[in-house]
């Protein structure tokens, strides 16, 4: 892992082979960034039974956006 001081590429799994860019010096957002928490697929969301929804499974394609 390279130490990109101002880039999220510093911790992205794709960085060594990324086909999107070779200039990884100042990337602030990227839809291809591998989300650390999402990698842990075995960890369930901590939501109580009362609060859970059958529609939750549709909430796929999580994203990284600036909001």
């Amino acid at each position: 892992m390279k130490n990109y001081k101002r880039s999220i590429c510093a911790t992205c799994r794709h960085a060594p082979y990324c086909s999107l860019t070779t200039d990884m010096s100042a990337i602030y957002s990227c839809s291809e960034y591998i989300h650390h928490l999402d990698e842990e697929e075995t960890i369930p969301l901590l939501v109580s039974v009362e609060m859970s929804s059958t529609n939750a499974i549709e909430n796929q394609h999580k994203e990284i956006v600036l909001n």
Binding site: Y4, T11, E32, I64, L66, N67
Partner: protein
């Protein structure tokens, strides 16, 4: 915990902050922005830096540094993401907070702009540690966030689970009779914990809508139009999904693994299924053939959607672009020099601040539902999103025409004028 007010006349500008300030200055010059209001908008309202201890799995205590920068709240509560990353610092947070102020203003939302996060490498911590870090950070932020003050959302390395932890911690600090009135302290929650239907597709749907509205204005039928997408994550996937439903053809895709092409069209659903089964990679999809990554932006197509990262269309490749419309699903995909070249060639650009605003509008809908004790159905969310984006899109196009500005400058002008109006009407206390 220390609270520091931004009292410097000029704050340090680096990287993205430079870009955001340049865009602001350009628009402010065009509208001849009131000097005093310019002074206010050039700096952040509040900058909170917190150091907080967390016990690690091995029993040792580690000290973390967290930030929350609140740029402006003239139009409503501060709104913006929280990211967990080693690059989180005050400059990055300032730039991104300022960006949020313009974005929420343009979208016509009752929000200001904020950004923050924790300086850490999340890969070094367990889920339990990340949960304790998140909860302790929320406690350290205390009442500097709140459903009517500052509403965080997911960003890099934070997700619906992180928001659920923040919500739970924040609610736990309130008296029992107040707890359920604080559901809207964060957005981007899991649906079962107060999240909204449609939030997952809001940004991509917004990208599609801006393309659709552009096509309507230009009398372009989207059927059989060829489009290419850089990034097949959330935004790229959903934008492609809705465009394909409209009859358009996805002819090329580029993701972190490579680039594939098929002039006859790639099936969005089959490609998505393939990528899911292939560790997220589109490479090897049987309906497409691989091509050189550098050729992507020069491919023959009608619409180009850079939906991954910044600085992708540059002076080096702008002259090769064949699309007549660029829809910026990502933040800052076109650099300044490239934009000059593209506009000169007559290529239209739907600027990022407008094109990808569906996400924050979706967040606003989640906040509204929690605040009013309502649960909207998916179709209701999508309809409201369409109405909101149509309004922003029309304003940008009208401003662009009447003032002879490119769409990006027009978007900034609208955003800043809305803030200026608020200050002019309200005055400056005391």
């Amino acid at each position: 915990m220390t609270t520091k007010l931004a009292t410097q006349k000029k704050q340090g500008k680096q990287g993205m902050l430079d870009n955001v300030m340049r865009q602001f200055d350009h628009a402010a010059d065009i509208i001849d922005l009131n000097t005093n209001i310019r002074k206010i908008l050039e700096v952040t309202n509040n900058e909170l830096v917190v150091h907080f201890p967390v016990r690690m799995d091995n029993g040792e205590v580690e000290i973390f540094k967290g930030y929350r920068v609140q740029h402006n709240n003239a139009l409503g509560p501060y709104k913006g993401g929280l990211r967990y990353h080693p690059t989180v610092d005050i400059d990055a947070a300032r730039a991104l907070a300022m960006w949020m102020t313009w974005k929420t203003s343009l979208a016509g939302l009752p929000y200001g702009g904020a950004k923050g996060g924790i300086q850490l490498d999340p890969t070094k911590y367990s889920q339990d540690e990340l949960q304790r870090i998140t909860r302790r950070f929320t406690y350290a932020l205390g009442d500097n966030i709140g459903p009517e003050l500052d509403i965080p959302a997911p960003d890099v390395n934070t997700n619906p689970q992180t928001m659920a932890w923040i919500l739970d911690t924040y609610m736990s600090t309130k008296s029992p009779n107040e707890r359920s009135t604080n559901m809207h302290v964060v957005t981007g929650k899991p649906i079962g914990a107060g999240g909204s239907e449609g939030r997952d597709r809001a940004t991509g749907y917004g990208v599609f809508l801006t393309i659709k509205f552009w096509a309507e204005r230009k009398n372009v039928d989207l059927k059989d139009k060829k489009f290419i997408v850089q990034g097949f994550g959330n935004v790229g996937y959903w934008a492609s999904y809705f465009l394909e439903k409209e009859g358009a053809l996805l002819t090329a895709v580029q993701d972190a693994y490579g680039t594939i092409i098929n002039d006859e069209g790639l099936s969005v659903e089959r490609l998505s299924e393939y990528a899911k089964a292939n560790k997220g990679s589109i490479v090897g999809f049987s309906e497409g053939r691989p091509i050189d990554n550098d050729a992507f932006f020069g491919l023959d197509c009608d619409i180009c959607i850079p939906a991954a990262l910044g600085n992708q269309i540059t002076a080096q490749n702008a002259s090769k672009v064949k699309a007549y419309l660029i829809a910026e699903g990502a933040n800052g995909p076109t650099d300044v020099e490239a934009e000059h070249i593209l506009l000169k060639k007559g290529i239209d650009i739907i600027p990022d601040i407008l094109c990808n605003s569906g996400g924050v509008i979706g967040s606003y809908f989640e906040w509204l539902q929690n605040r009013n004790g309502e649960i909207w159905q998916l179709d209701e969310v999508m309809l409201k999103l369409e109405k909101k984006i149509k309004e922003s899109f029309s304003k940008v196009l009208e401003t662009s025409k009447t003032r002879n500005l490119d769409m990006r400058t027009a978007a900034f002008v609208i955003a800043i004028e809305r803030l200026e109006e608020a200050y002019v009407q309200r005055g400056i206390f005391p």
